[in-house]
Amino acid sequence: MATEKKLYTVSVYTENNIGLLNRISAIFQRRHINIESLNISVSEIEGVSRFTILIHMSEDQIKKILGQIEKQVEVIKAYYHTDDDTIYQESCLFKIKSDLLFEERQIQNIIKESNAHIVTVNKEFFVLEKSGRRAELETLHKALSVFGIMQFVRSARIAVTKDELKITEMLNAFKNQ
């Protein structure tokens, strides 16, 4: 059971240190683990960064990886979650020829139905943005690729957990000790 592979989201709260990305990615690289996506951003706490890492592996493996991550001095805390534990999204951008917007009525319908929004339009191209689950993004990508896409890019997954993560308490506990 714990050996069955699944998609997990790992959230890592860290000190904001430039070397840390290197340290964390080395943990995966050494073990030949492919990172599906990686996002680093600020978190709800000032000065604390949050890594969101998407990996496909077994629960047994992920526990070991988490141990290795938490062992790093500048990692405050690491968690792993299943999709059910989190609210998550990715976003993507499509760059498409502007002509198509007027010539192909179908495109306008696709945009409307998909809840995508137009970021910018000029004479040559327009840029469409869509956030949501991977499947929704893929559906839109499929629908639009019929017409030709000049550029496409998709971001890493970002996720917040349904349960509370007690990082602030942990940091306060340190301050008061």
Binding site: T14, E15, G19, N22, R23, A26, R30, K63, K64, G67, Q68, E70, K71, V73, E74, V75, I76, L171, F174, K175, Q177
Partner: protein, 577 residues
């Protein structure tokens, strides 16, 4: 400002002095109680060396002959003293030469702080002369590392380096300091580090895990303790002895745990692992409760994982949560410092003895003695064995020497046969198996424990990897005893070639130089023994001598180390021949 604690206020009110970054580095080292460091100068670290010159009467800088050896010397120092060892090097090649020692310290949990000079910050990333990204290079082999580009960061970062290196599960820290930060002047103040908010050095011990461990121990009919270096690192030798004696449990050790319980202790049943003793390896697969303390189930200890102690319940006392369930699934994990955990465990453990079970170890020892030990220690054939050299060292040092071994057959023989009557007596490169470790590590060990006899036991191969340290020994008049067991082979590799590659001795035979002449070239007293009748007297002469001494013993060329768990085999399939 009103949120400051009293100590913080006191710190801020302390008088400040305007000094350079490089002077600050030396002052920080002094504040951490460093009296000796090992290193090698060069362009990017010269300002610090200039300060070391001024502070010569307070801090002893030992010039090794290679930066790798500065790191190993710092390791030797740390391993025998329990303090943090310090190594220093310049940027570029100086820094990269440290890497082997750093990797060794990482895998063997040795607290060292390495300070490297770096090109001035405005040149970083420009491929400047002797610029290497040592922070990038050392990341996977350090517990922590950091680059300093401003003098004002120096005190806090060095304080943190020492704290991280020695707290929790110890390890190496590297601090890279740009040359401009060394020159820059700033207002110096030093405050020791007492915590880092993202870092929990010792995990909290769950009292219920202690009682669960005690229950398993108390219910066991055939318990076996395997301890590792965690006992030595947490200074838990007394507590280990108390547990072993109270519960009457046979106890075996990993190579890194050697000497924590004296060899002569009746419940010390020997070494586990690839060339460990027969009984503890075989009976690992017979015990009902295996109590692992401060060890990490390295593959050289476990052999084939899925045939390792599958019948046993596993109790694991461990400081590093990442080690729990990493290789072996535990039934009860007791997180925490070994000493503390043992202190809490002891009152809950019943007085007990397991004589029948202990007898099994004695019976298997008899088999090992007949098949292996007798021939190693009391050979009847003409050629000298490595074992009999160790036996003579035991006699002459009363088993109280610190044995610093290198890597290979002689290392396994040293660990198997040295009498360890005092803790911290087995200084060897366990996890990394770094040939060339012993000679420089012996330098650090001798300097940290000048009252102890320090005997380096080295192979003819590994000796030639760091032989230049004879210069350091000579210059510093260090009475290290150096024993080279010369089999004219990279013996351990040759043994594998014999056993698993049909004796195709590819690049393992060596034509060696005149080792005695080389030692004498460094003005070190030296002798060579080729005959059994000269061995005892010469070993005695070596131990009796006041200065450094080099002894070459020409041993059997094709001797093998047994028992042996062939790689990939189960520990209970250990071979006696």
């Amino acid at each position: 400002m009103d949120t400051l604690t009293a100590t913080q206020k006191q710190y801020l009110e302390q008088p400040k002095e305007r000094i350079s970054g490089s002077e600050a580095i030396v002052r920080c080292l002094l504040a951490e109680g460093v009296d000796v460091l090992y290193g090698y100068p060069g362009g990017a670290i010269m300002p610090v060396y200039d300060e070391l010159y001024k502070y010569e009467d307070k801090i002893n800088h030992v010039l090794t002959r290679h930066e790798q050896c500065a790191a190993h010397a710092a390791q030797g120092y740390a391993r025998i003293s329990g303090k943090v060892g310090v190594a220093m090097a310049t940027s570029g090649p100086g820094a990269t030469n440290l890497v082997t020692g750093i990797a060794d310290a990482q895998i063997d949990s040795t607290p060292i702080v390495c300070i490297t000079g770096q090109v001035p910050s405005h040149l970083l990333g420009s491929d400047a002369f002797q610029e290497t990204d040592i922070v990038g290079i050392s990341t996977p082999v350090t517990k922590w590392n950091h680059q300093v580009t401003k003098a004002s960061q120096i005190p806090e970062i060095i304080a943190r380096a020492f704290y991280i290196a020695k707290s929790g599960r110890p390890g190496p820290v590297l601090i890279d300091i740009t040359k401009d930060a060394q020159f820059e002047e700033f207002d110096f103040q030093y405050k020791k580090c007492t915590g880092v908010r993202s870092y929990v050095p010792v995990p909290k011990t769950d009292p219920s895990s202690i009682s669960a461990a005690a229950a398993l121990i108390n219910s066991a009919k055939k318990p076996l303790i395997i301890w590792g270096q965690g006992i030595i690192l947490s200074k838990a030798e007394t507590e280990l002895k108390a547990l072993v004696e109270k519960a009457g449990i046979p106890a075996a050790w990993t190579i890194m745990g050697a000497s924590a319980l004296p060899t002569s202790h009746p419940l010390n049943i020997g070494m586990v692992g690839m060339h460990g003793n027969y009984a503890p390896n075989v009976l690992t697969n017979d015990c009902d409760v295996l109590i692992a303390i401060g060890m990490r189930f390295d593959d050289r200890v476990t052999g084939k994982l899925d045939e390792y102690a599958t019948q046993a319940k596993i109790v694991h006392l461990e400081i590093d949560p990442a080690e729990v369930d990493k290789n072996i699934k535990t039934d009860v994990a007791v997180l925490g410092d070994a000493k503390q955990s043992l202190l809490e465990l002891l009152p809950q453990v019943n007085d007990n003895s397991h004589n029948e079970w202990l007898q099994k170890f004695k019976d298997l020892y008899e088999i090992e003695y007949e098949k292996v030990i007798k021939n190693d220690l009391h050979p009847t054939k003409a050629g000298l064995t490595m074992g009999e050299v160790l036996k003579e060292i035991n006699i002459q040092t009363k088993g109280e020497a610190a044995i610093v071994s290198d890597v290979g057959q002689h290392q396994m023989i040293a660990c198997r046969y040295a009498d360890f009557n005092i803790t911290k007596s087995n200084i060897t490169s366990g996890g990394l198996g770094t040939m060339g470790f012993a000679l420089p590590a012996a330098i650090g060990a001798k300097m940290a424990a000048p009252d102890r006899e320090v005997v380096a036991v080295i192979g003819d191969g590994g000796y030639q990897m760091t032989i230049q340290e004879l210069g350091t020994i000579f210059q510093n008049k260090l009475p290290v005893k150096i024993v080279v067991l010369n089999n004219e082979f990279l013996g351990m590799v040759r043994q594998w070639q014999q056993l698993f590659f049909e004796k195709r001795y590819a690049s393992t035979e060596m034509v060696n130089p005149n080792f005695v002449a080389i030692a004498k070239g460094y003005y070190i007293e030296a002798k060579k023994v080729t005959k059994r009748e000269d061995l005892a007297a010469t070993v005695k002469e070596m131990i009796d001598s006041d200065g450094p001494y080099f002894l070459e013993v020409c041993v059997e060329k094709e001797g093998n180390v047994f028992p042996m768990v062939p790689s990939g085999a189960s520990v209970s399939d250990i071979r006696l021949e």
